[in-house]
């Protein structure tokens, strides 16, 4: 039999796509998906599944695709993953499931992520789920009578990012009455405010959140827990357990002179303006964003790549990624680094900033940098960048985005007395159950691990849901 090659994903041409915010990757056709699915050899002991934090039956859904049973494939996928269209787009499959696929030993692994995306998209287009009516979204489970509802245990979820959404959906599937409290005006967490439209269209996030609502989950927006309500008050209101999924919030800054000059943004501010507040449609939308002609982005993770690519789409002429280590250490997903390069983002590697210089109006105009070389590995296992003496040079810029990471937002943890907190402000949890040191309070996602990935946050939400179920039952 002739060997089928790994199917390429059709994408928008780079020259075109830097002018718009539409999806970069366009998704497999049916034919391509079936061809790709046929590459899977249906291992008896599928190693790919071990790489998936939410334990999707990967060969199972791929087999159904190969047999053109898309509905069945979707069912298997959603059995474990409540946000498949999101994961199919943003998970780092190359370092999780695909790296563990047996085919990768001899050739290319099965494109598990692209198949996941294909099925989620197919389902969205072809078998629209029955959504609850708009005004019942805030409220009731479609098929349960209120008397029954009263008998069910209530669980509160704080934060509606991937961790909170997953925990909520799994608990709802187990029959709990679940309420999510979200501080922003829109649920979704980083999926809504951080990851740009061209990588993760917002109507897809809305659609998957609507699915979760259809399971009976209530979502209360504009509720900053810790201020409007304390955790203690939630327990007093009858919530039997609480899951904290409030994410990584506080942006980190470089701590160098000139950092508060105008047009120096944290990535969070920059991306929130553009994604959540739709500043790319200003002035039709009210929130502005300033973008100049020459933009420097500090950092090299997904957040930095997103900021750089957003800058190009807002009309910047030259965009630089400035990173103090080498390409090998860049934490961003491979696909996103490649996309950024194709779109014309330039890379200043082994370069660290030492100060920002402004003009008479306090707008940033230059950044002074030092060249670095790699020394011995540090605690993170990566080789430590060491400054090269006398290598100072400046880059002319008129906009700067700082994307060097976030630390967990301390606002809520600070309001829970006796809650165990780590050195970096993260909530300390049991890795298996997500339990904190306080009975009935669980946590997971970026607030526990520090900035990580969507799928890790979902995995944590899933494990916590299981643990919460056991905890609540043990109390009855």
């Amino acid at each position: 039999m002739e060997k089928i090659p790994r199917q390429k994903m059709p994408v928008q041409n780079p020259q075109e796509r830097v002018k718009n915010f539409s999806s970069v990757a366009l998704g497999y056709s049916e034919e391509q998906a079936i061809l790709e699915a046929k590459r899977c050899i249906q291992c008896k002991n599928p190693t790919c599944v071990k790489g998936c934090p939410v334990e999707i039956n990967i060969p199972g859904f791929i087999k159904e695709i190969a047999n053109k049973n898309f509905t069945a494939a979707a069912k298997i996928l959603k059995d474990k993953n409540n946000l498949p269209a999101v994961c199919g787009r943003v998970c780092p499959q190359e370092t999780q499931c695909e790296i563990k696929c047996v085919l990768s030993k001899k050739s290319d692994p099965v494109a598990i992520g692209r198949l996941e995306r294909f099925i989620a998209d197919w389902e969205r287009k072809n078998s629209p789920m029955s959504l609850p009516a708009k005004d019942s979204v805030e409220g009731d489970v479609p098929n349960l009578k209120s008397e029954i509802l009263n008998l069910r245990s209530k669980v509160a979820i704080l934060g509606s990012g991937p961790a909170g959404l997953t925990c909520a959906a799994d608990l709802a599937k187990l029959g709990y009455e679940v309420t999510i409290f979200e501080s922003l005006h829109t649920p979704g967490g980083v999926l809504m405010y951080g990851i740009p439209e061209f990588r993760l269209p917002k109507d897809i996030v809305h659609h998957e959140i609507d699915y979760i609502k259809s399971l009976g989950v209530k979502i209360k927006t504009n509720m900053l827990v810790g201020k409007i309500k304390t955790v203690k008050e939630l327990f007093d209101e009858g919530y039997k357990a609480i899951f904290i999924g409030t994410g990584a919030g506080l942006p980190q800054f470089l701590g160098i002179p000139g950092e508060n000059l105008n047009k120096i943004y944290s990535a969070n501010e920059f991306l929130t303006r553009v994604n959540l507040m739709k500043a790319y449609k200003f002035p039709e939308y009210d929130t502005p964003v300033n973008i100049g002609k020459r933009v420097a982005v500090f950092g090299a993770g997904n957040v930095a790549m997103d900021s750089a690519r957003v800058s190009l789409r807002l009309g910047a002429e030259e965009v630089f990624i400035v990173y103090r280590r080498s390409e090998k250490e860049m934490p961003a997903r491979l696909e996103e680094i490649e996309n950024a390069k194709e779109e014309g983002v330039k890379f200043h590697l082994l370069t660290a900033p030492i100060k920002f210089i402004g003009d008479e109006n306090n707008n940033v105009i230059k950044v002074e940098c030092l060249k670095m070389e790699l020394g011995e590995p540090d605690a993170s296992g990566r080789r430590r960048p060491v400054p090269i003496k006398g290598s100072e040079f400046t880059i002319d810029v008129d906009t700067v985005v700082i994307a060097i990471g976030q630390t967990p937002n301390p606002l809520l943890p600070k309001t829970i007395s006796d809650l165990k907190i780590g050195k970096h402000g993260n909530i300390i949890v049991d890795e298996v159950t997500g339990a904190t040191n306080i009975p009935g309070i669980y946590a997971g996602g970026d607030i526990a691990t520090g900035a990580a990935t969507v799928i890790d946050a979902m995995g944590a939400g899933k494990r916590a849901a299981r643990a919460i179920d056991e905890y609540v039952k043990s109390k009855k």
């Binding site: 201020k227 506080l250 047009k263 944290s266 507040m277 200003f282 002035p283 502005p288 300033n290």
Partner: protein
């Protein structure tokens, strides 16, 4: 949706809104603010809660028309609704019995200082108030503040009401009248940035501890975006979660002024766009 129960226009360009928001009313304390978004395409704007009525479940906001959102709000009527309001946000003002408190406020800052002054009065402080406005027609909450003040002064820039001059003139006079003895144990100064800056400069010379309420540009208001960062005592602080109250003697005022101007041209574009739409 948050319903407007009562709207009025107590002064030129300042509108008063009483809004149904029972949960916020229950929780909000003096010095705290909310962030509201008018409609689907709206910006998130921070506004201090000037008053509350827990029984009626309402909060009161005084909003000065300066740009697109605040101007658009001026067109709202009783019964209209605001899409989103989140709060209370920020650290409540520190209220204790200091002895004598000097409350200095200008413009819409009067609405911000009102709940603080009221709480300070309830704690047993002697309240000396100095209110300032551009002219008589710009004065708000005069009677309410007068009622809780032991000493009360008003200035108007153009002399159209009571006394011509600035709040800083009254402050200087009070200091001069009380040689060798501090005029107050603590000063609260809230209003336009230039006013807070001038007051802080004066009180610094006389070693009078001064609290100001900063109004940097904000987006989320929960410590996530870093837009509201201000330098206080050489350290970067997030005004939305560590403020808005800070020690006026430690604030880097020049930086705050610059950062408030960062969207000037864009804001004008937005207002023009809005005006065209209305035509």
């Amino acid at each position: 949706m948050f319903k407007i129960i009562e709207k009025s226009t107590p002064s030129i360009k300042v509108n008063k809104f009483v809004i149904e928001a029972p949960e916020i009313a229950k929780k909000v304390l003096p010095g705290q603010f909310v962030i509201l978004r008018l409609d689907e395409k709206g910006e998130r704007i921070p506004i201090t809660v000037a008053d509350k009525d827990i029984e009626k479940g309402t909060i009161t906001l005084f909003i000065q028309e300066v740009g697109k959102t605040t101007t658009k709000m001026g067109t709202l009527k009783n019964g209209d609704s605001i899409l989103d309001i989140v709060g209370p946000l920020g650290v409540p003002s520190h209220i204790e019995n200091f002895g004598t408190v000097l409350c200095i406020a200008g413009g819409v800052g009067v609405a911000v200082i009102y709940p603080i002054a009221k709480a300070l009065k309830e704690k047993g402080n002697k309240i000396i108030s100095i209110l300032g406005a551009r002219s008589k027609d710009f004065m708000i909450l005069e009677n309410e503040i007068k009622k809780i003040s032991d000493e009360f002064y008003i200035t108007t820039d153009d002399g159209s009401y009571v006394q011509k001059g600035f709040v800083s003139d009254v402050l200087k006079k009070l200091i001069a009248q009380s040689p060798g003895k501090p005029v107050a144990d603590i000063v609260y100064a809230i209003g336009p940035v230039p006013m807070m800056r001038v007051i802080s400069d004066i009180t610094k010379q006389h070693n009078l501890k001064t609290i100001v309420s900063l109004n940097p540009i904000m987006v989320d208001g929960t410590g996530m975006c870093g837009a509201c960062r201000v330098s206080v005592g050489g350290v970067t602080k997030f005004a939305c979660v560590e403020g808005p109250d800070f020690d006026g003697h430690l604030v880097n005022w020049a930086e705050l002024v610059n950062r408030l101007c960062v969207f000037k041209t864009k804001e004008k574009e937005s207002l023009d766009h809005h005006c065209k739409l209305d035509k």
